[in-house]
Symmetry: C2
Subunit: 660 residues, 2 copies
Amino acid sequence: MNPDITRERENATFDVEKLTHILDGGIEKTKRRREIESLVISDPDFQSEDLNFLSRSERYDAAVKKSAQMILKLREYGISDPEEIYCYKSCVHRGRSEPLDLHLGMFLPTLLNQASPEQMETFFIPAWNLEIIGTYAQTEMGHGTHLRGLETTATYDPATQEFVMNSPTITSIKWWPGGLGKTSNHAIVLAQLHTQGKCHGLQAFIVPLRSMNTHIPLPGVVVGDIGPKFGFDEVDNGYLKLENVRIPRDHMLMKYAKVEADGTYVKPPSAKLTYGTMVFIRSMIVGEAGHALAKSCTIAIRYSSVRHQSEIRPGEPEPQIMDYQTQQYKLFPLLATAYAYKFVGQYMNQVYHRITGDISQGDFSELPELHALSAGLKAFTTWTASAGIEVCRMACGGHGYSRCSALPDIYVNFVPTCTYEGENTVMMLQTARFLIKSYRQASAGHQLSGIVSYLNESERRLQPQSVSSRPTVVNVNDLASLVDVYKLRAARLVKLAAKSIQQELQKRVSQEDAWNNSAIDLVRASDAHCHYVVVKLFAAKLGEMGDTGIHSVLSTLALLYALQGIQQHSGDFLQTGLLSVPQLSQVSQRLKELLAQLRPNAVALVDAFDYRDEMLNSVLGRYDGNVYEHMFEWARRSPLNKTEVHESYHKYLKPLQAKL
Amino acid sequence: MNPDITRERENATFDVEKLTHILDGGIEKTKRRREIESLVISDPDFQSEDLNFLSRSERYDAAVKKSAQMILKLREYGISDPEEIYCYKSCVHRGRSEPLDLHLGMFLPTLLNQASPEQMETFFIPAWNLEIIGTYAQTEMGHGTHLRGLETTATYDPATQEFVMNSPTITSIKWWPGGLGKTSNHAIVLAQLHTQGKCHGLQAFIVPLRSMNTHIPLPGVVVGDIGPKFGFDEVDNGYLKLENVRIPRDHMLMKYAKVEADGTYVKPPSAKLTYGTMVFIRSMIVGEAGHALAKSCTIAIRYSSVRHQSEIRPGEPEPQIMDYQTQQYKLFPLLATAYAYKFVGQYMNQVYHRITGDISQGDFSELPELHALSAGLKAFTTWTASAGIEVCRMACGGHGYSRCSALPDIYVNFVPTCTYEGENTVMMLQTARFLIKSYRQASAGHQLSGIVSYLNESERRLQPQSVSSRPTVVNVNDLASLVDVYKLRAARLVKLAAKSIQQELQKRVSQEDAWNNSAIDLVRASDAHCHYVVVKLFAAKLGEMGDTGIHSVLSTLALLYALQGIQQHSGDFLQTGLLSVPQLSQVSQRLKELLAQLRPNAVALVDAFDYRDEMLNSVLGRYDGNVYEHMFEWARRSPLNKTEVHESYHKYLKPLQAKL
């Protein structure tokens, strides 16, 4: 054990194990998670060479191998709880996406939700047993977020009772679905349904892609891998071009909408039923943002405690780089953010399950709010976490660029969350739409409920006379007071965005152009709203902490999170008259004090995330802090060192020397 | 040609070709650059498969092959001007780093600068003819930026007149030098010189690493590749462990410092002589930041003009995504930044050459300022450009993640500039040191010269009474007025940082701790200083534009750059009393107008950067805008599609299906 990191642990002021339980959601959950991790890590079937040393084809190969093993073992061990399956899977693939993700996460659930009982009978058991390996093909080359623009067609032919599936244009080629390129033999294809001369919009169809015997693509099916990407080397994201592919009528998923034998289209009872999955995945991503940032902070903070560099005081030994104020200022606010997002993730999960219960009883009332919240928070947290991972990486200096740090991998595997499941800017604007609608209701005197109810309250408090008097009552050392300031900032920026739309309308532009011409303000309002929600939930979480030591260190983190947000957006707080210039100086001063205060607990706070070395897979983030010898050992194993002399020497350099 | 992009070009209001000449530095330079590009692009020896489809070993192999060809052809064509060599090399390797970079860019120049005449005779011709292939080994596992901390030792043994080279610890292993792993047979090794029982600090030694005949590492030399990184797949960044390797006395570079036969150490006449290269490389990086951002903007803006998505007005065709205000707000300020950095790069280049002239005449007076400026600007521009590349990438939606967009490559190849040649935070603090020193001189009544002279002026203007009256005189539509505001912001923040140090000193902490406890403020001050310099140089450049059309569009860009910076840092401008709240609202409003104003010229402005498709190598950034068909074609060529059925199906999936 590196003596520096031992000393850091000795200086901690709280019980690390207890904090781990809080993060896991209880002592029993910690125990079970560790059991599952041990099960995977000690399993010889899941040992493999460092993925960084493999080609893409080898990485895909290794992932398919592990996924196949995983399916067998989950059944062998009888692991069936969705959360436990997720945990097992994350361990097997070390948090990476894998070729069967969409089979397990989209194909099977979509069957469960949208197949008729007869269809369940036909498809579910074969899919469960991986005779049918499926994916979910929605995105096309020309259309991602805008679903109505999808161009793939399914035209019903009553003569044969078949749908004729087509990709009529180059932009209509399905593009990106995971597992589509090489792994799947079926896909649920989203296509525009045409029957009896009319288009009835998007429906889902089960389309066989490859022979069940030979795995060779079926006639009319042009399918393949979309080529190398920024990360996601293990996944065969694919393309699919359909050329007059005929499928039987019962291959359209018919639990809700239906096409009868003669081609008559029967509408579904409600359009809201397919909302759920989307909201669930976005809520999950918020927790993933916390997770990705927590891993990055673990690596950067442990490394900062064992790396010594330069000098603060001449003549003295080189300090740990964590002693530099600039290093603390890079890492500690991100550590606070990681905690914040983990807690918000827990909250979203609870809300989702509560609301799902309501929905199953036919109560959709809270869905719009959850939809708006999950959209905005997904964007807010993924943007911040992505940028934060890179800050952590660069805080490790040169070694952060080595694949052995694991940080490049964390980045390329996480950053796509900014784009998939709803492009972030579009998400922010969806939340803004809900905020503006709520604001207008509040202005019209309606009483709002839920998280936006502050728009009522602030409508009253934000009258000009009260604005000028506010700064004096804010206490920058009091979290409750800061939550209040974040709330008022959000209210103010929602109002500003609404005003911008109003001003545009007065120029006689259309509603739609007024919206587009105010989009910058709308995104800013959503951002402030999400920031308020995060600060509020972090503060609320503190109320649940019984342990004094933990309460104390998490209060410091929460305060740091809130104050750093204010410093970064100081213009907003000044512009809206919520804080004064002297108060901002106080904020800066207090921030520095908080950094120094957190310093002794920094390593313990990342230890509490409880990532085993095998899961983190980072030489810089090792628990024992012995980074240099392991970096050397890792490098020596790398492929270019398999021979002392690379063949290119004989092929090019030696001949060149002879010619000069 | 895609009709959308044709229409964009028709709408441009200025002469693109003339702007290209300005960016190149004159019509003749444009002509010559294009000649060199054509020479490389039409050369069959430089055709290769898409690098994205190769393994790392294959990419290294391809790069060595091209570099060997390049050396031969440069001589064949008689290209010897350094700028032209650089241009040719960039074309051959498409802007990527390559295995001979350090031989050409560091080994040969270091010989030229630091070898004695006798050493030149021994080493230069063999090195010129690549008999000796060299690299420059400075960074160690444990030390990067802090050179005094390097641990490699060179101990003089007068008995044999040799130096004994050692890597005494694991942290002393040389780590990162490009070309060290497999390519080089020699290295200039920076090591602590020990002779006659005393350490004389860092000296440079020529150390043979591999046999000149077999390329096998010599006894005592442990050398290899450091393993895969975030990008830089073509370069064999290496490690080097020296175990009692003996080199003759004349292998220490002895133009300045010397060790005599008996071991007597002779000091160099001036320590400033080795400063130059560092300053030059940092200045170059500023231009590279403009270059990387220009390429990214070219891709994202062209793609935004041909990509249609969603709807602004219901029922109408899907708009080009460049019509969304949020898209404009992402891309146009970055476009302005790319222009700004290109102009700053030109300026730095000129200043460097002027000052180098002075230095060669023994005049070092301007060196400290250039040193400080190049350090800060290197950090300021590389941080912004790195983040900006990712914004461009994500503005391309899902397709920005595909390697065929080229954006992932631009990012991983550029982002290391934030760390190498001086870690950015350390660079900012170096600039801050110069600023604080200058501020103290100004406060003591000294008249400053050069770029920091504003610290004199503002010291007078920033008296409290004038502050409160300032906001009224700022004109947010006048660039000169904005330059002034940036200047005062910088002055204010330098003063704040100085005040912070003062306050710390009053708490009786040491100078060094006071500095560290104020580091956040110091970085902020440097940042503001650099921002001022960039705005000022952009404004100054406008004065050189004779063409009305070009002057007009670049003025819009410069104004956009200045106003967006104010909006992003509005807290600074409000906090220092330089702008009022109503003025900030004006800034926001004006920004939106500028985005709309730039919209018709956006494609033409990236066309003016004049990147040939072969250089950009981006499907999304194609000049003809025909992105989708080429994306499909690219994907079909990718390695996973070489077989219809991947072997993993037979190895794992079919057996799994049989077991379930």
